[in-house]
């Protein structure tokens, strides 16, 4: 697409009104990095969201709330109690990209290699959407298909709410890449809740090596009620193929990618278990 006009609204409602008026020709603009991957010559008008007070991170009750226009580098630098988002953010692209790319831009239009949807699915995050009023949507619904569907009528993502992990919670993520700045070959994120020495609940999500990020329900089911051991993790990871059809990529076969995903699931689970056992993030 081709940027032809630039609109700078003074408020969220003005932004929504502009987008509604522009219809398909309107495009919310935050970091702007996704533009690189949207070729073509369709003329669009950008509606600038960077001056609407949507760049912040704060803890409110049981959630960390991250403004939708918060750059990834801010999330990488932030520290809070049992905060785990920085690990994946420091693995996304380069410093220069992270300084402009926003959490909202990363999740409102999901590219196949996106890491944050995987993490937010595992974290059971909640997305705050402005449609004249604010409403919340959980990650499962938000990422049930391409989230761009939710914003066609000018609605806007305003924030992402990440649950504050409790003492028995552990989170781990793995991103397999060919080099530091490369897109992910496989991204896995896992959230474990341990109670009485067993896994009371698990949320495991995958992305990059599959067409769209998703939870691995068979893996989660295989973990629940089991001891968090290497054997448990390996047995559960072996079921990942039930949930996901791994794709070949970067010259590597689907068979290899499936094996890499299995190993990455085990690694993410081990990191999550370690986190739950008291490792400082």
């Amino acid at each position: 697409m081709k940027l032809c006009e630039f609109v700078r609204p003074a408020s969220l409602s003005q932004a929504r009104a502009s987008l509604r008026k522009l219809g398909p020709k309107g495009m919310p603009l935050a970091g702007g990095t996704a533009l690189h991957f949207m070729p073509g010559k369709t003329p669009v008008s950008a509606v600038d969201l960077t001056h609407l007070g949507l760049s912040y991170i704060r803890q409110k009750g049981n959630f960390f709330e991250i403004g939708a226009a918060t750059p990834l580098s801010d999330i990488q630098r932030y520290r809070g109690p049992r905060w785990a988002m920085h690990e994946i953010c420091r693995r996304i692209s380069t410093h220069q990209i992270r300084n402009v790319s926003t959490i909202g831009g990363n999740i409102c239009r999901v590219f196949p290699w996106a890491d944050l949807p995987v993490v937010l699915l595992a974290m059971n995050a909640r997305m705050v959407i402005y449609s004249g009023k604010l409403k919340e949507m959980d990650a499962d619904e938000f990422f049930s298909s391409q989230p761009a569907r939710l914003f066609r009528n000018g609605d806007l993502l305003t924030a992402v709410k990440i649950p504050v992990l409790k003492a028995q919670h552990g989170f781990g993520s793995v991103k397999a890449t060919r080099n530091a700045a490369a897109f992910s070959m496989v991204t896995i994120a896992a959230l474990l809740e341990l109670k009485g020495g067993v896994i009371a609940a698990a949320r495991v999500a995958a992305g990059s090596a599959i067409p769209f990020p998703k939870r691995l329900r068979s893996v989660e089911a295989a973990l629940t009620g089991k001891e968090p051991s290497a054997e448990t993790f390996r047995a559960a990871a072996a079921l990942a193929g039930t949930d996901a059809k791994w794709c070949k990529q970067e010259g590597m076969s689907a068979e290899y990618v499936a094996g890499l995903a299995e190993v990455s699931i085990v690694d993410a689970l081990e990191r999550a278990a370690e986190f739950a056992r008291g490792r400082t993030a």
Binding site: A176, A180, A181, A182, E250, S253, L260, V263, S264
Partner: protein, 779 residues
């Protein structure tokens, strides 16, 4: 004093002075081609072939020519059909003339079809879409086996294709070049061996990835000449080749090279300048053509992929009795550098180890894939992967430490090799004995830094993550003997500063700084007194350009000789001013003085005297230089890796890169070259590859998908400069820049073997390949 300690007495050389263009570049001052763009410049865009092999049946540009902003369209129907070679090599080139500015046949995805010059980029792109092309698709040739098969499609069936010198060239068989030699008897050597080996190796395509893509601008001067400002390593070859391609005299063309944002060999090719010049000629307007990154990948030059068969014989005592190195390169759709790269795969590697019975056979074939060209390391990179992998293999067979096996066999100072004479570049080489050679010390210092003594056999290693150490030894050359020539002039100014004009081409390497240091050392003044100008075909003397590891050694000696010429004149004038004989004075610290220093006169005074006062003349030194030798730099590399045996991922933990480059004229720049070349090689060994679809189109033509190492990937690299003194080089120097890229593939391959027992004969060492090799070991 040992010979290499001579360098300690130098005042300007062997000193890490700041690059003379450092501030200019750091401050973002206008430096590069596109910085000098006139406001009325037209933008050039090219329509590239979407097909790997096709004949253009019909091409209609009439609609495009009428599009808004379009000033000119070029295609095979309206430009001269002059066959030429795009490789920027000496004349006549040891490469086929197989290229036209535009042709009625396309030979790879990314070949030229038609070009537009328009007022804006958008207008040029719109015009490209209006060009109608009808193709007759021809059967493509994608592999060496397909290219060599009897009855294979002929990629260059045009009658004009020929070679300008008597070398093997059979385009009807897709054969670009064939060179072979034998010293002793390979058959006899194999018969004497206790162990024999027969292995094949594959090396991949790779891209140079300079930060500044190919960029060229041309404009007409008021005198009706064409001024080409271009990002090139070879300004003089560029002028000659553009003149031929356009069918105009060399006199009509001036080529200026401003600062260059990297080349690594890819800008030793004339890929843009003929078109920019033709557009300038046709429109009378300045015209800029700048490749984007995708064009750089698809159409720019690449490293030749090689298929290598290596056979060797070795005795139990470590004597290598026979080596047969058979290399076949895929030169892609055009043959520039096909011969020289395959020649260097033998010429720059086989002399490294003692062996009485050596056989070399090198061939180069056309395919309908991207075009191979010059790339740092130039043939040696590919062959050293095979040779140094097999050195470890042989050492293990005879139960010898691979380090000791190399120490036992490597070439010593004063020794020669029949290969030096047998394999030149397009003709026989020159007989040569090695003068400076600190390889033995490189091995010792590298082993100590890498902790070689702690290395253990892979069979005792357990666990998911396994560590290993691998090594290799390397050599390269310093310029092409009896072929390459460099020249310089140096003149004095009133304040004692000097204009140093060189045709040598600084492409970001720091060669302007190095040449200034050499001139200053010879003239016994300070480096910051040098005003360096390079390179401009109107204003600077000839130089073949920056390639073949030649600038410091070859152009540097031309500079030293020119400085010595100027110094003779300074001494004469100084002596005249002091009323002394020339024999009674010497130069020191920018003065001419007598033996006890009681009488002296400054360079500034001498300049003013000679320019304004008495017996006036311009003190100006000039010199040319060719070499009779190509003294090899030597290196020993050591890689420590950690292999994830569950995923096949390889992490380089530590890398030691030792280098004997003779005197390091500027040690900081030498270390920079060494670290840069090493990281370049690590990236090539682990992550870089061209992925093609079934139609021969590269699928990963962007930095998002073609993975090169950045500083965040950089392992701990220790560069160690091991001094020697090369008598034939300026102040003992030889080359440094190319050799370092040759080590990582074999060193890392050997380290993976030491970690896991998995031997890979093909790279890049992708996780999938490594994992498959590990699984094969377990079986």
């Amino acid at each position: 004093m040992k010979r290499h300690e001579l360098a300690k007495n130098f005042k300007q050389v062997n000193t890490s002075v700041t690059k003379i263009d450092a501030m200019q570049l750091a401050l973002g001052k206008d430096s590069y081609v596109a910085d000098f763009l006139p406001k009325d410049a037209l933008v050039i865009k090219m329509l590239w072939s979407p097909h790997a092999h096709a004949r253009i049946k019909k091409l209609d540009v009439s609609k495009a020519e009428k599009m808004p902003g379009v000033k000119c369209v070029l295609w095979h129907g309206n430009v001269p059909r002059i066959v030429h070679c795009t490789a920027g090599q000496g004349f006549p080139e040891p490469s086929p003339y197989d290229t036209f500015m535009f042709d009625n046949k396309v030979r790879f995805v990314g070949d030229r079809v038609a070009a537009v010059a328009a007022e804006t980029e958008e207008q040029a792109l719109a015009a490209l879409e209006a060009i109608k092309v009808e193709y007759e698709l021809l059967k493509p040739v994608f592999t060496l086996a397909e290219a060599m098969a009897p009855g294979a499609p002929v990629i260059h069936d045009e009658p004009e294709a020929h070679v300008p010198i008597p070398i093997t060239y059979e385009p009807k068989k897709n054969l670009v070049a064939h060179v072979a030699c034998e010293a002793g008897s390979f058959k006899k050597g194999m018969a004497e061996a206790d162990f024999t080996f027969d292995e094949t190796y594959e090396t991949p395509y790779a891209q140079h990835c300079p930060i500044e893509p190919y960029t060229s601008m041309a404009q007409m001067t008021p005198a009706g000449r064409i001024l080409i400002t271009t990002s090139t390593q070879v300004p003089f070859h560029c002028r000659r080749i553009v003149a031929r391609t356009l069918g105009i005299p060399v006199q009509k063309i001036r080529v200026v090279k401003p600062r260059i944002g990297g080349g690594f060999g890819c800008k030793q090719e004339i890929l843009l300048e003929d078109v920019t010049a033709m557009f300038a000629l046709r429109t009378g307007r300045p015209c800029l053509w700048r490749f984007d990154r995708e064009e750089t990948f698809r159409t720019g030059r690449t490293r030749h992929p090689f298929h290598i068969r290596l056979r060797t014989g070795v005795k139990k005592d470590g004597t290598i009795t026979a080596i047969a190195l058979e290399c076949i390169n895929n030169t892609g759709a055009y043959g520039g550098h096909g011969l020289t790269v395959v020649s260097c795969s033998g010429g720059k590697t086989l002399p490294l180890y003692h062996c009485d019975n050596i056989l070399f056979d090198g061939k180069s074939y056309y395919t309908n894939l991207p075009v191979g060209g010059a790339y740092r390391g130039f043939g040696a990179t590919q062959a050293f992967f095979a040779i140094e992998s097999l050195m470890d293999h042989m050492a293990e067979a005879i139960g010898m430490d691979p380090l000791k096996f190399r120490q036992l066999n490597h070439i010593r100072p004063g020794e020669g090799s029949p290969i030096f004479q047998a394999l030149g570049e397009g003709r026989e080489g020159v007989p040569m004995t090695v003068g400076s050679n600190a390889l033995g010390e490189c091995i010792v210092q590298g082993a100590e830094a890498a902790g070689w003594e702690k290395r253990t056999d892979w069979r005792g290693k357990t666990g998911r993550y396994r560590r290993g150490i691998g090594m290799c030894c390397l050599m390269q050359g310093s310029s092409i003997p009896d072929i390459d020539m460099g020249a310089a002039t140096i003149k004095i100014n009133e304040d004692g500063s000097f204009n140093l004009n060189v045709g040598a081409t600084d492409l970001g390497t720091g060669s302007d700084t190095v040449l200034a240091q050499i001139a200053a050392e010879e003239l016994e003044t300070a480096t910051d007194k040098m005003i360096v100008y390079s390179s401009d075909t109107d204003m600077t003397p000839f130089d073949v350009g920056a390639y073949a590891s030649s600038t410091t050694y070859l152009s540097g000696e031309a500079v030293r000789k020119a400085a010595a010429d100027a110094k003779r004149q300074i001494l004469a004038t100084g002596a005249e001013m002091l009323g002394l004989k020339v024999e009674e004075v010497h130069c020191e610290d920018a003065h001419v003085l007598n033996a006890d220093g009681s009488k002296k006169v400054s360079y500034s005074d001498i300049a003013n005297y000679s320019l304004y006062q008495k017996n006036q003349y311009q003190i100006i030194g000039t010199a040319s230089h060719i070499t009779k030798k190509s003294p090899p730099p030597f290196a020993a590399h050591f890689a420590e890796v950690e292999v994830d045996t569950l995923t096949g991922f390889v992490k380089v933990l530590n890398y030691v890169s030792t280098i004997d480059c003779g005197t390091a004229v500027n040690p900081a720049l030498c270390e920079g070259q060494t670290e840069g070349g090493t990281l370049n090689g690590i990236s090539y060994a682990l992550t870089e590859e061209y992925l093609f679809d079934e139609k021969g189109k590269m699928q990963n033509a962007s930095f998002a998908d073609y993975h090169i190492y950045s500083m965040r990937d950089r392992p701990n690299i220790k560069a160690i400069l091991v001094p020697s003194y090369e008598d034939t080089g300026p102040f003992g120097a030889k080359s440094v820049s190319e050799i370092c890229i040759n080590g990582p593939a074999p060193a890392i391959g050997n380290a993976i073997y030491n970690a896991t027992g998995a031997r890979l004969n093909e790279f890049p060492f992708t996780p999938e390949k490594v994992l498959a090799a590990i699984k094969a070991v377990k079986k």
